[in-house]
């Protein structure tokens, strides 16, 4: 692979995509920069959580509230969705056809929505055990961090649906290609954030 073939970090469309490959340069770089900013956002919320773990104020703590089984399933769902999005990216890059692209995107969406379903179920069961955000500083910090990730996944899912809509209207044009590539980065980024949440919040909380 020559130097020119790589216009930006991550998966490139490659010169077979002509002008779309060129157009990706600023757009993808800009999105990486945005993700850096978003990473700072998450790190601030992580910092709030880590320094609030002890602030249960007599209310329920991690051991009473967390359900590792459910969280483990969520983790598998999200990791699987990252893999399927990877397949969608490859279908885009190697021009495997619109049907395959939409297929992989649809599988990703299903996995993402399933993740959100499990997560909401977790929250509901925490609520039923008295684990509401207004109960303590610890719970406030928890409900800042984990739902912030969930909101990102929700936003990503809406974005995904919109991209499929755009494919239906315009086919796989430049903007759809750049959109899929950016959403892919976003999706993988959320996967990494989730691994941090799984380790820092759930595993560390239950040890």
């Amino acid at each position: 692979m020559s130097y020119e073939a790589i216009k930006h970090p991550g998966l490139n469309l490659g010169s077979a995509h002509g002008r779309d490959h060129d157009a990706a340069e600023s757009m993808m770089f800009g999105f990486w920069v945005f993700l850096m900013s978003d990473a700072i956002l998450f790190s601030m919320v992580f910092a709030t959580y880590v320094t609030s773990v002890g602030a249960t104020a007599g209310g329920p703590g991690p051991h009473e509230l967390y359900d590792i089984k459910s969280v483990f399933i969520e983790t598998l769902l999200l990791l699987a969705s990252s893999f399927t999005f990877g397949m969608a990216s490859l279908a885009l890059k190697y021009k495997h056809g619109t049907a395959r692209l939409i297929g992989w995107l649809a599988v990703t969406l299903v996995l993402g929505v399933a993740f959100l379903g499990f997560e909401l179920h977790d929250f509901a069961s925490m609520f039923s055990k008295g684990g509401v955000p207004s109960r303590s500083g610890f719970l406030s910090a928890f409900f800042d961090l984990v739902p912030l990730h969930g909101l990102h996944v929700t936003g990503g899912s809406i974005w995904l649906i919109c991209l499929v809509g755009q494919i239906a209207m315009y086919g796989v044009d430049t903007q759809v290609k750049l959109g899929v590539m950016r959403l892919a980065l976003f999706w993988h980024f959320l996967d990494i954030v989730w691994i941090a949440i799984f380790s820092v919040v759930y595993l560390a909380g239950l040890t």
């Binding site: 600023s26 920069v33 900013s37 709030t48 609030s52 602030a55 104020a57 406030s140 800042d144």
Partner: protein
């Protein structure tokens, strides 16, 4: 919030008591009447000003032009100008507030005329506005205008995003303005420390106005930072290596990087405070595990880098101004770049000095104290580099140069008091006194504001095609400099004498003389601003005799001077090829500036987009609904925001072509004007003879 609530209280918690004159009508004591009249007067100025503006635009039938030429324009130059206009409007309000505060303190022995609550609103809005709605839009505007021209780009990387940033900033500013008319602004200062700003102590709308205005502004700044950084990394003209970039572009890059990393902590802090206030969370409350130190850390993790966001672009302006008006290349360019980058990095390691007295141990204080003092080193490098640039230059005392020289003297003083404050032991003595107020105004006013005003005078002819009146500019600059000294030097002494900051009144007669001097300073600063307005008026009136269409009135050195004034919408008919620093000076010396091209190509530019103004309006309405707990409004406009963004994703056909024929015509028209213009020497550049074409510099002058 429930459904019944929405129907029972369609206006949320708005009531007649939210109007500024209500209390004085209900309970007309002398104090209430004075405060009511001032508040109502201020509200009327906002309302009358808005009506007046609408009437003027309607009378001259300019709505169409305003919408299609300005508000929806994706052109970085127009967006930059609108940012600066917003900043100047807000500057006017915040300066009036400053004068009110100084007069309150001048008469503050044993009482004064304002209530404590009114005074607290004044210092809170003054600080919030000056930081977020004067300095930030001003510097964003100047970077927007100048940076793409300096690097030989046609526009920023993401023009629509740029327009959205402007819309959100304007929405935040509008929120602060409307707080004058309906309800009250926060009394918690510009950094809004909880638990005071929590619902239990400040149940009113004030902190909510503050939260949402800042949220809008911080989102806008994050977007701007990303946009500028990507533009500088990706859109430079061929041959322009990073180390060939003009210093202003370097400072713009470092400022952008700070924006990208420092804005998110603010977004988190305001969002968490909002969750505390709206949904009963416990981040910063006194009870149930809340901890206000989280807020202090988050806010200053933003707040200290913010100081360098404000100052670095001005450092860039001073570098350009001093180099240009000394007729020399900038001394120590490499050191300047490294100093700028060093400041940007160090800025993230000193936030704790904002709360030395809030309970951490002495060793931590020592580490942060030393880190804070370290910033003096790169800053010192800069001061020396500016002085060496002036040394043996052929200096012309133009208006931007006056600001720059005033800056060097005053900023060194402000820096030295900063070093004093960086020592935790001294900080324990003077913290929370007006010594601190004097210090940060001493760096912010000569540092940030003077620089931006210098930039305004420096690049105004580029943006509008005519020069500003030199004499009035001089008067204004001198009023700013001496007004600043009168207004803030007494505060150093008052601080050492023990006057706490934010005091509405005091019982110590020895404060009075110094307070009166400071008040006179505030008056002089008002004169400075009025002179600036008069200067603009006079300059517009006499624009024909000061036009500089040829584009290079000051013998400029970087690429923005190599095009017409004002530049065409696509900036460069032909993208220049850069071979070194001070690219335009190189071209002029080599005799190949002002060259026609053999062939011209079609140029693709972005089409106008309503996204900026529409998202701005939605953002304002959403925030207003949230402030007043008008839930239907908040929900409606939240949905509207999501729908608008989705719809934007479906937009296609977003660019248009400027045909090569038109580019050629415009370029040739300008080149003809250049050929017809008479080149003038540096001594004559302030005379009407200056048509924007500079005589080649004398040889033998050190370059």
């Amino acid at each position: 919030m429930n459904l019944a609530d929405i129907f029972q209280h369609p206006l949320g918690r708005m009531s007649p008591e939210s109007l500024p004159f209500w209390q004085m009508l209900q309970d007309p004591t002398e104090a209430n009447v004075i405060n009511g009249v001032i508040a109502t007067g201020a509200a009327s100025v906002v309302v009358i000003g808005a009506i007046f503006a609408v009437a003027l635009i309607t009378k001259y039938r300019k709505w169409g032009v305003l919408w299609s030429e300005w508000l929806t324009s994706p052109d970085h130059k127009k967006i930059g100008i609108m940012y600066v206009v917003l900043a100047l409007v807000m500057l006017t309000r915040a300066l009036i507030e400053a004068v009110l505060m100084r007069s309150q303190q001048a008469f503050g022995l044993g009482g004064g005329f304002l209530s404590e609550d009114h005074f607290a609103q004044l210092f809170s809005t003054h600080g919030t506005i000056m930081i977020f709605f004067v300095a930030m839009p001003f510097l964003t505007g100047v970077i927007n205008y100048v940076m793409p021209l300096q690097i030989g780009a046609r526009d920023v990387s993401f023009p629509i995003l740029n327009s959205i940033g402007l819309g959100l900033t304007a929405a935040g500013a509008a929120l602060v303005m409307i707080s004058l008319c309906i309800g009250k602004f926060s009394t918690g200062g510009w950094f809004g420390y909880p638990p005071y700003t929590e619902a239990s102590f400040s149940p009113g709308v004030g902190p909510d106005y503050w939260i949402w205005a800042l949220t809008l502004a911080s989102l806008a700044s994050t977007l701007s930072g990303i946009n500028f950084a990507v533009t500088i990394y990706k859109e430079r003209a061929p041959g322009m290596k990073l180390m060939f970039m003009p210093l202003f572009t370097w400072t713009a890059l470092c400022t952008s990087i700070i924006m990208i990393f420092a804005m998110p902590p603010l977004t988190v802090a305001t969002a968490q405070l909002a969750l505390d206030r709206y949904l009963g969370f416990h981040y910063f409350t006194n009870e149930l595990g809340g901890n206000m130190m989280h807020f202090a850390n988050l806010f200053w993790l933003f707040g200290h880098p913010e100081v360098y966001i404000l100052i670095l672009p001005s450092f860039g302006v001073y570098s350009e101004v001093i180099s240009t008006f000394s007729g020399k290349a900038l001394f120590g360019y490499n050191s300047m770049v490294m100093a700028t980058a060093a400041i940007a990095i160090l800025s993230f390691g000193v936030w704790l000095h904002h709360f030395f007295t809030m309970g951490q141990n002495a060793n931590i204080n020592a580490v942060f104290g030393i880190a804070s003092m370290l910033i003096g080193i790169p800053t010192g490098v800069k001061v020396y580099a500016w002085m060496w640039t002036i040394f043996r230059g052929r200096v012309r005392f133009t208006v931007p140069m006056i600001y720059s020289i005033g800056f060097i003297y005053l900023f060194v003083l402000g820096g030295i008091t900063g070093i004093l404050l960086a020592s935790p032991t001294i900080d324990y003595q003077v913290h929370n006194t007006v010594f601190l107020v004097a210090h940060f105004h001493n760096v912010a006013v000569p540092g940030a504001l003077f620089g931006l005003l210098a930039g305004y005078h420096f690049w105004f002819p580029k943006a509008f095609g005519f020069r500003l009146n030199e004499r009035l500019g001089m008067v204004s600059a001198i009023c700013w400099i001496f007004g600043f000294m009168l207004a803030f030097f007494p505060l150093y002494a008052l601080g050492l004498m023990g006057l706490p900051r934010r005091s509405a009144a005091y019982n110590e007669p020895s404060y009075v003389p110094l307070e009166i001097v400071a008040f006179l300073g505030a008056i002089l600063l008002t004169v400075a601003l009025v002179t600036l307005v008069v200067q603009l008026w006079v300059s517009i009136k006499h624009r024909d005799e000061n036009h500089v269409f040829a584009g290079d009135p000051w013998d400029g050195r970087s690429l923005e001077w190599s095009v017409s004034a004002p530049p065409p919408e696509y900036n460069f008919a032909v993208i220049p090829v850069v071979t070194g620093r001070d690219a335009f000076t190189i071209a002029k010396q080599a005799g190949n500036a002002y060259q026609p091209a053999d062939t011209y190509a079609d140029i693709e530019v972005p089409k106008n987009s309503a996204m900026g103004p529409v998202l701005g309006a939605i953002g304002f309405a959403l925030a207003f609904g949230l402030v007043w707990h008008i839930w239907w409004m908040a929900i409606l406009f939240f949905v509207a925001a999501v729908v608008t963004m989705i719809a934007h994703g479906f937009a296609r056909d977003t660019t248009r072509i400027v045909p090569a024929q038109q580019v050629r015509q415009e370029h040739r028209r300008w080149l003809d004007a250049v050929a017809a213009a008479k080149a003038i020497s540096r001594e004559d550049e302030r005379k009407p003879a200056n048509q924007g074409l500079a005589e080649p510099a004398l040889s033998g002058v050190p370059a």
